[in-house]
């Protein structure tokens, strides 16, 4: 019997090759895409999942009440970790973590490494396996380092290097270290990404901040004792906070901050390690959101759904051709159940073929997919037994629903009726119409999302940020020399070139450079009896001119002699609540009172998802610069870039040149949006494609059902166009219905998404109209191919069958 079923299934597939291949193609593409997308999503969700103690390790962050509402942050002062561990019960291990980069030198070789300043407990708390050297406490000695496998190979040439020494350039000074252990490279799904771990005490800020509770600049992670819950720990820490942050709390009270629900002005809170990757502190509390991976997963499900709907509708469309077989089998004694299993079995066969092809296809596409969407996803994410079981069940369920529903309908047809070959499918029509409405609704949602996303990216890319981004190259000063010396050399070397319009430096980049780093530094100080906060930026003189910033008041830094003064931006003027900012003196650091030399018009020095924050510019030779900026003429920009690169190579022969134009840097800051946009765009293209395949099948069915009617109408005298319109009208009605349903849902959804951006486009009906027109035009085009053909047919043919 099974053999008979298989034979029939195979011959049916073979007989109608267009139908089978469209179906298999659609399903396998959907499967492939679903596999790839879920791979990316599960990769994202697997972040920091590999740590053995992930359930007990937390990031320690604090929430403080300010007059402007609560503020949350992860930066802690140097003595914090040590005190927390000794004063609050329940901490098993604790470590400070500060990410940085440094030039590593071994004999002749110099490379720039991502480093992490950590405490010895780090390797106990986190699972970064040691492959050579001290397994348990590799950082016991102050001068020890743990180096990653890959960095060891690049720097030393091999990994048998335990005990060897190397030098690191820290704050312009070469210091010796000894390799205590070699660790496996940090996995791609780790939030910590470093080539080398060193003792925290060696970091350049350490000495000056050893006892200061004011300078907050690193993160702290704690591993709680088994018996202690995060909530218990948080409430245990109240006394600790009251003791060490007494002054800050008093200041907050004085400035008019409101206490939180616990009547506290400052609290220590714990964030589970697994949430770190997905947390934003922007709104004043730890907001954990995994919406991005779930969004990707839902796109995958939506695509599977669309493909499933197609399959259902196409099987129904085809069932008319098999009515005779159904009737015959029934008269020969087949039961409903047997027929159900026969047809379901056929679906299952087709599904398995499509699944196999889908897996194959995804394997072929995985590399371009990874580079296109910047994911580190691998099949490892999908090869866990639990995923395989869930995935297998999912396919079975899908095939049961998608293959079972038509099978169920087919097996229920009356014997005599099916022998006559007339299909009465009123119930099915209802289901079919609903499915089609949902299907096109989804396509519509995805297309609108794509349009809005692209619109927002375009807006961010083209927005006037308040500075010159097309003509300025920035690059990190990642060489051996001191930053001011390098800058001086650069200026000299570049002076002769008429295409170079200016050279300056700052301690921060604009946008995200090719080094992949983005920093922010902020400081709080007392001003007229209140605490005010500002971002600060150390610049070389000419910074304002080189970047084309506008002055609202006063003047910019002109010469090194202006180093006692400061510049502020307009947001800072508001923060100071100062009517006449030019007369203000700010006492930011120690006793020195700095006069405000000028006010810079607000410009976007941070990403566009933030409002413009207060900013203060310093020009101090005591503070190092980190980036150089070179303004070039609008002509020969590529040559100018090459020239800068050449000069850099001359000045710092061992350091990579990581220069890029600022507009590229800005583009890099919304890589995530671009990746999401690409993803949704490809999802929507696929969705509309698959939906149209379904629509095509539907039009085939409807036309075949109405052949006789069409014939009669033609004989009576209907024109081709009126028949085409008649046949298309029903689809059009369904389409318009789905547009009507999808538009408000997309509107709400996209409005929510846009809320994430401080600077955003306004949603307007144009987006929905454009998406709607697109869908309708494509759909009509698809349907017409069948309907016009039907309308053109000679009526004698269709009427002869009686």
């Amino acid at each position: 019997m099974l053999k008979n079923y298989l034979k029939i299934a195979w011959r049916n597939l073979w007989k109608d090759k267009t139908y089978s291949s469209i179906n298999i193609l659609g399903l396998s593409v959907a499967f492939a895409v679903a596999i790839l997308l879920s791979m990316a999503a599960f990769f994202e969700l697997s972040y920091d999942n590999f740590h053995e103690h992930k359930d007990r390790v937390f990031q320690v962050y604090n929430v403080q009440q300010t007059p402007d509402g609560p503020e949350a942050g992860t930066s802690q002062p140097t003595p914090f970790a040590e005190s927390l561990k000794t004063e609050v019960p329940g901490v098993d291990h604790i470590t400070r973590v500060l990410h940085d980069n440094a030039l590593a030198i071994y004999i002749e070789k110099e490379i720039n490494l991502d480093i992490a300043w950590v405490d010895p407990d780090f390797f106990t708390m986190f699972t970064f396996p040691i492959i050579e050297g001290d397994q348990s406490t590799p950082l016991n000695e102050l001068g020890s380092v743990v180096i990653s496998n890959e960095a060891a190979k690049t720097l030393f040439g091999d990994t048998d290097i335990v005990g060897k020494s190397l030098r690191l350039l820290i704050n312009g000074e070469e210091r010796p270290f000894t390799v205590a252990a070699v660790m496996k490279d940090t996995p791609r799904n780790s939030t910590f990404d470093f080539d080398m771990a060193l003792r925290f005490e060696n970091n350049p800020e350490y000495a000056s901040t050893k006892d200061s509770w004011q300078a907050q600049y690193h993160e702290v992670f704690a591993m709680l004792a088994n018996s202690v819950s995060a909530e218990r720990f948080e409430s245990n820490s109240h006394a600790f906070i009251d003791l060490h942050y007494n002054e800050a709390i008093e200041n907050a009270k004085r400035d008019g901050a409101q206490p939180d629900a616990d009547e506290k002005y400052r609290q220590v809170e714990l964030l589970p390690l697994r949430d770190v990757r997905f947390t934003s502190f922007r709104k004043g509390f730890a907001e954990v959101s995994r919406s991005n991976p779930y969004l990707i997963l839902s796109v995958a499900l939506l695509i599977l759904f669309i493909a499933g709907v197609n399959y259902i509708n196409m099987s129904m469309a085809r069932s008319a051709k098999r009515l005779k077989e159904i009737g015959m089998r029934k008269t020969l004694g087949a039961r409903g159940k047997q027929l159900f299993f026969q047809f379901w079995g056929e679906s299952l066969l087709l599904f398995l073929v499509a699944m196999a092809l889908g897996i194959l296809l995804s394997a072929l596409l995985v590399d371009p997919f990874k580079s296109m969407f910047r994911t580190g996803a691998t099949y490892d994410q999908l090869s866990s037994p639990q995923f395989i079981v869930i995935g297998g069940l999912l396919v079975l369920i899908i095939s049961l629903i998608v293959g079972g529903y038509p099978a169920f309908l087919l097996s229920r047809f009356g014997t005599v009726q099916s022998l006559k070959g007339t299909l009465q499918a009123n119930g099915a029509n209802w289901v079919r119409n609903t499915l089609m409405v949902v299907q096109f609704g989804i396509a519509m949602l995805l297309i609108t999302s794509t349009l809005v996303l692209l619109g927002q990216i375009d807006y961010m890319r083209n927005k006037d940020l308040g500075y010159e981004k097309e003509q300025v190259i920035s690059f990190p000063l990642n060489g051996k020399r001191g930053s001011y010396a390098v800058l001086e050399l650069l200026k000299q070397e570049l002076k002769g070139n008429p295409d170079i319009l200016g050279v300056t430096g700052a301690d921060n980049n604009l946008g995200r450079g090719r080094d992949g780093n983005q920093y922010s530094s902020a400081i709080g100080f007392e001003y007229k009896g209140r605490t005010v906060g500002t971002n600060f930026l150390v610049v070389d003189h000419d910074y304002v001119e080189t970047l084309g910033l506008d002055m609202a008041m006063g003047r910019s830094f002109k010469s090194p002699a202006d180093s006692t003064g400061i510049l502020i931006n307009e947001a800072m003027v508001k923060e100071l609540r100062e009517q006449d900012p030019m007369s203000a003196y700010l006492q930011i650091n120690g006793d020195l009172k700095s006069p405000v030399l000028g006010v810079v018009k607000d410009y976007h020095f941070q990403d566009l998802d933030r409002a413009i924050a207060p900013l203060t510019f310093f020009m101090s030779r005591d503070l190092e610069l980190a980036y150089a900026y070179v303004k070039v003429a609008p002509v020969n920009m590529a040559d100018s870039y090459e020239h800068v690169k050449e000069v850099w190579g001359k000045i710092e022969p061992n350091a990579d040149f990581l220069g890029s134009f600022l507009d590229e840097n800005v583009d890099r800051t919304f890589r995530r949006e671009q990746a999401t946009a690409k993803l949704i765009a490809s999802g929507s293209v696929l969705a509309i494609l698959l939906s149209c395949i379904g629509l095509f099948a539907m039009s085939m069915l409807i036309v075949s059902q109405r052949v006789k009617e069409i014939g009669i109408r033609k004989v009576i005298g209907a024109s081709v166009s009126s028949i085409t319109f008649m046949l298309t009208k029903d689809f059009l009605r369904l389409l318009l219905l789905s547009l009507g349903i999808a538009a408000p849902i997309s509107w709400w959804f996209l409005q929510e998404w846009l809320e994430n951006y401080a600077y955003r486009i306004e949603l307007h009906p144009g987006f929905f109209l454009a998406a709607g027109i697109m869908v309708v035009v494509i759909a009509i085009f698809t349907v017409s191919t069948k309907t016009i053909k039907a309308a053109l047919q000679n009526p004698v043919k269709s009427l002869r069958t009686e």
Partner: protein
Amino acid sequence: MLLELNNIFKWVQQGGQRVFLLKDINLKVAEGEFISVMGPSGSGKSTLLNVIGMLDGFNEGEYHFMDESVHTLREKHRAELYKQYIGFVFQAYHLIDELTVYENLEMPLLYKKIKGSERKAMVADMLDRFNIVGKKDLFPTQLSGGQQQLVGVARALISKPKLILADEPTGNLNSKQGQDIMELFKQLNNEGVTIIQVTHSEKNAEYGSRIIQLLDGRKV
């Protein structure tokens, strides 16, 4: 008595009115009979055949088939009954196009869950008997109409039914082919199979031992 119909009525509702397809049909069929049902289009011939074959239900009346009361039987038992005792032959042959002659013959046996070796023997026997051994691997579309109907009859006979119901078996055939099929029926009848056929042709009806005339769902 093979089967007995008592006061069978069948109707459909059309525009609030009952339209009768069968009206008060009484019929007794003894084993070994060869009955021809005749009547104009729409007189209810095929409906009657479907009712006898249990493919279709009826609204009123009693139907006894080999001492079973069909009108009280559940769908499942009814299917068992006709699966075992009735074979069908159709005007349009209704062979499954995707299966070969051999596989088409085999199919009823599959539904009766007959063992492989026995099945093989039965199919081979049937192929032999109808002289179509050479055609067993062909698909229905590769055969002439007469040959297709021959396969159709063979398929109806393979599960050794007591009753063959034939709905215009020669309707799609030319006269020579039709005559062959009728001769075949005659011969089967002589071997003891009961046959009820619907036909338009007086000549074919003559093959039967009894003729039933229908008009507007009523026996005349």
